[in-house]
Amino acid sequence: MSAPEEEIVRFDNVGLRYGTEREVLSNISFTLFPGRFYFLTGASGAGKTSLLKLLYLAQRPSRGAIRMFGTDVITQPRERLPAYRRRMGVVFQDFRLVDHLSAFDNVALPLRVSGVREADLLGPVADMLEWVGLAHRADARPATLSGGEQQRVAIARAVIGRPDMLVADEPTGNVDPEMALKLIRLFEALNRLGTTVVVATHDVHLLRKVPDSLIMRLDKGVLSDPTGALRYPPRRVGAGE
């Protein structure tokens, strides 16, 4: 019997409600493991963005327990949360670029927050912008970029620090199919280096682009597990069960 795989994220009976409204997420329980590629699917309004907010620590759950990187983050003092956030890269659905910063400075922001020296970040940021096809727009402000260009800047910002976990909310929604494929290949490449990737999408075609991915499906705030890999203890994918 093999040793249990170390989990990177574990949700136990998590519920989320905003104010006094009914729960938008109910009894969410799953585990994520390092180096896996997860898709979170579901119709609009199913709660995908709310679940991702819990994942990237922008929201506290109304109930339940969340462990990340081996630590119960619900009971952690908020001063310790930045250290967990720095281990994640996030692509927000609305990009959330800083309006008054250039594309270069937006991409460099996570590195600056993490304490990377200016001399050390110039090259990687320039290379990253070149790779997403925006080297010529490095000095442009987000307001002057198209939706697709903004999305590429947001993705470059999310992956520049090579995070332990990448959380992306509809990351290919505003780019052409060629760029969408290129971005998914980037996510896969990061995934092969050990980054856990969680991509929320309602694009079923995208799911087929990553054959080894695991799928979480949200329906009206309730999580289903069509690939059977999210249970705790998890069913070993590819273990013949």
């Binding site: 930045p82 720095r86 959330r96 927050v113 990377v116 970040l121 990687p124 290379d127 090579r162 290129k182």
Partner: protein
């Protein structure tokens, strides 16, 4: 497809903190608000004025107290001029031998008459208004009640019309008023400090509100409260430095002008209220205090607001 650079060459996370110019550009406004340096300048100028006035009053009171501490005046109130002169001589003769008396001086009668001239007019006939003889007394151990009572006892027999009063007693109400003015200056400084802190608090909250999106993004990318607070601190630091220097120049100029005006009065009491070089140094430190107060207030305000975010 070309390999993305981040896969082969991740940037090394290091010790370079998010501060200084690296952090300043995160806020679109490099200052907390346009009027902030001017508000701080006015606060500092008023504080320098209040502190300058308070220090001058304190010096004035100290010098007056020091000069009067060992001084007493003997008045011989006898109506008959000959009797008065005889008693004055007796007083001088007795007191000059007393170990507590450091020195004495009989104030010449024409000096006394000149002093009273504004009230009595010139050419006051000797017997029209009896003018007391005055002896200026300097005591070794201070003009305390026990010493004065003992001296009164010595004079009682040979100079029954003599009255001894500590000079400090006459100026006691003036000194009390000066002390009250000094406390008022201190209260004014406290009020100005409070008002300045409140202005910084409002400006910091306003800046936080208008940059909320940026702050949230920095937070979600792993920025800590202290990193964000440092950005605002840096901003208010420059505002406060600018305002402080401007306020100091204005305040110092006003204090210097006031000093020049008062010294032109050529009054013994008022001229004692000048500022020492150490006082000017204290005034020069007012902007430093304002900067510390402003930065501390901004930091406290920003951290308190950020605590409401996850």
């Amino acid at each position: 497809m070309k390999k993305p650079p981040v896969l082969s060459r991740p940037a090394a996370r290091g010790p370079a903190p998010l501060r200084g110019k690296r952090a300043a550009h995160l806020l679109p406004q490099t200052r907390l608000g346009g009027p902030m340096p001017w508000v701080i300048a006015i606060m500092v100028a008023l504080t320098v004025l209040a502190a300058g006035g308070g220090l001058a009053l304190d010096n004035l009171a100290d010098r007056a107290r020091g000069e009067l501490a060992g001084s007493a005046t003997v008045q011989i109130l006898a109506v008959d001029p000959e009797n008065r002169a005889r008693q004055a001589e007796a007083v001088a003769e007795i007191l000059v031998q007393d170990p507590d008396v450091a020195g004495l001086a009989l104030v010449p009668q024409d000096t006394v008459e000149r002093l009273l001239e504004p009230w009595l007019g010139s050419g006051n006939p000797e017997d029209a208004v009896p003018i007391p003889a005055l002896i200026d007394l300097r005591l070794r151990g201070g003009a305390d009640k026990a010493t004065l009572d003992r001296l009164r006892g010595l004079l009682a027999e040979r100079a029954p019309d003599a009255r001894i009063d500590a000079q400090g007693k006459w100026l006691a109400p003036v000194l009390a008023a000066l002390s009250a003015l000094g406390w008022m200056a201190l209260g004014l400084i406290a009020l100005l400090a409070f008002t300045g802190a409140a202005a910084v608090w409002l400006a910091a909250r306003n800046a936080l509100g208008s940059n909320r999106d940026t702050i949230e993004i920095v937070h979600l990318l792993g920025g800590s409260d202290h990193q964000i607070a440092r950005i605002f601190q840096r901003s208010i630091l420059f505002d406060a430095l600018l305002g402080g220097v401007l306020g100091l120049v204005l305040g110092m100029a006003a204090v210097w002008l006031m000093g020049a005006q008062f010294s032109a009065l050529d009054s013994g009491l008022v001229s004692g209220g000048g500022l020492e070089s150490s006082d000017w140094l204290v005034l020069a430190l007012v902007p430093a205090g304002a900067v510390v107060l402003a930065v501390f207030t901004a930091r406290f305000t920003v951290l308190a607001s950020l605590r409401k975010m996850l």
